[in-house]
């Protein structure tokens, strides 16, 4: 860098051009984000991005009530926490034999899983609704949790298996010699060694469910059970004129947890989310 050869000057010029191009794109990307952040502390928020007339926490004060924020967020936590727990446990169990034992059923199972990974789940929400009405699972938390888990499972199993393949088998063989069962070696040896992998599957499942609108929108009916993804609609509907500042404050409150979770995991894995084999061509 210190010696300015023509080549290095060209590199610098290229870098400046690339930086400029990226910043231009980022500027258009940042406008909607800036709007929500600025409006949330703006006493006179409207629909345009602008510097606040003064900074206030009144908007947060107004929405941080049990009815508007805490109950929907708690519902989201129950739904997504339950769904994620179920997904991660089932995926870890399923990935173990797929990763460890050679069997004729592995390939068809994995191909089916991979196929299911990319099915448009939106398309089956109407029949799922009809089915849930028939079996009395409509408007229940557990029904929604089961469906959340099932829809996230294909991808979770796929990711989990890829991470598990990275744990050398020799380490378990020692445990087997000591008489540990498969379940014990999965719990004591394999899962602890693939901690980051489990974290990725957990966070990814949780983030996907937290942001999902259509599933709870279809399967839950009682307002008291609605997660934040659906209750945000209330701001448009029944409350008369929309108070944009409050809506922005709610959006910030609702989005922050998943962004923090994502950042936490992404940083540990070095930038790009390790989406694993499912997206690597």
């Amino acid at each position: 860098m210190k010696t300015r050869t023509p080549a290095s000057r060209r590199t610098i010029r290229h870098r400046l051009a690339a930086d400029f191009g990226l910043l231009v794109v980022a500027a258009t990307f940042v406008l909607p984000l800036a709007w929500v952040v600025l409006s949330s502390v703006d006493p006179q928020a409207n629909l345009t991005v602008k510097l606040p007339d003064g900074v206030t926490l009144d908007n947060f004060d107004a929405v941080l009530t049990p009815e508007i924020t805490f109950t929907p967020l708690l519902n989201s936590l129950l739904l997504c926490g339950g769904g994620t727990a179920l997904t991660v446990v089932c995926a870890a169990l399923a990935a173990y034999p797929l990763s460890r034992f050679r069997s004729r059923l592995n390939r068809p199972f994995l191909l089916t899983i991979l196929f299911a990974t990319s099915l448009p789940i939106t398309a089956i929400m109407v029949p799922v609704y009809a089915l849930f009405v028939q079996v009395n699972l409509i408007d229940t938390l557990q029904g929604t949790i089961f469906f959340f888990a099932a829809s996230q499972l294909p991808f979770a199993i796929w990711l989990m298996k890829n991470f598990m393949d990275g744990v050398p088998k020799e380490l378990e063989e020692a445990a087997w010699t000591d008489g540990a069962s498969s379940l014990q070696s999965l719990m004591r040896v394999v899962l602890p060694l693939m901690g980051p992998g489990v974290a990725v599957v957990t966070v990814f499942s949780f983030v996907m469910m937290w942001g999902n609108f259509f599933v709870p929108f279809m399967l839950l009916l009682t307002p008291e059970q609605m997660p934040a993804a659906v209750s945000i609609n209330e701001f448009f509907g029944n409350r008369g004129t929309v108070v944009y500042g409050q809506l922005a404050a709610f959006s910030v409150t609702y989005s922050t947890p998943v962004i923090l979770l994502y950042v936490g995991v992404a940083r540990r894995l070095g930038g790009g989310f390790a989406l694993g084999g499912a997206v690597k061509g």
Partner: protein
Amino acid sequence: MKGQTRATSGPVPHPALRTATRVLPLTPATVLLLLFLAGPIAYCAYIAFTDLQLTGQAEDSFIGFENFRTAFGDEAFLNAVWLTLVFTVVSALLGQNTLGLALAALMQRASKPVRTLVGGIVVTAWVLPEVVAGFLLYAFFRREGTLNAVLDWLHLPTQNWLYTLPILAVSFANVWRGTAFSMLVYSAALNEIPKEITEAAEVDGAGGWRRMWHITLPMIRRSIGTNLMLITLQTLSVFGLIWVMTRGGPGGKSQTLPLFMYEEAFQKSMIGYGTAVALLLLVVGSLFSAVYLRLLRTEV
């Protein structure tokens, strides 16, 4: 297909116990998938052929291909097919894919702070809950919104975007929200290209565009295929984003197939008909899925 699980527990040479311990961990996942994913898909394939309605009907009856015949004679359905096509081509194939590749390519050369900053902003848009993203873009495109304020400041003509060009507004929203995925896929792909190859081409005097076209793109073609497939499938099933921004309106001008399906099934109570549309969507999705499997066939 998952019935295979049972098939091996029968006449296999392994001791039964060993097979059982190997199959057992697969059971919870398999049961969940069968009950809550395969079940609804099978049920979907059944009620698409009935006249099931939400209310006021004691029993549904089998009506064969009637729903599909209705669909293909229904102008609103054909309109939804067309809009889905526009939405997918504009937002996924042209928008997310190209912009994602461009961002990933620029990031290869950019300085680290800019790379981190831009990556962070683009990924935040992706991690944001669907409804919040929809709401932010709704505010952006409204008559009193940011876009018009910017255009006004530049002395360019403004208009009510959500009213005049709703399908382009929701397409742009989907680009805003989805580009991060393509960017991550392409960044990973570009990082795997050995530096020597591009450097050699540079020494030979190949310019940026020619290097991109003749060397980089052919080397990452498998990632391109995979990415196109996945973003097409994601875009086909977008619901919340459009629902929040326009509800499919005005007058069906942004009503893609998922929104059409929802309206027929619930606002008009025609579950059978709505499901027939869902089945068509699922079939198109399965075809894409199958192609995707072919692209990955060496991986499993």
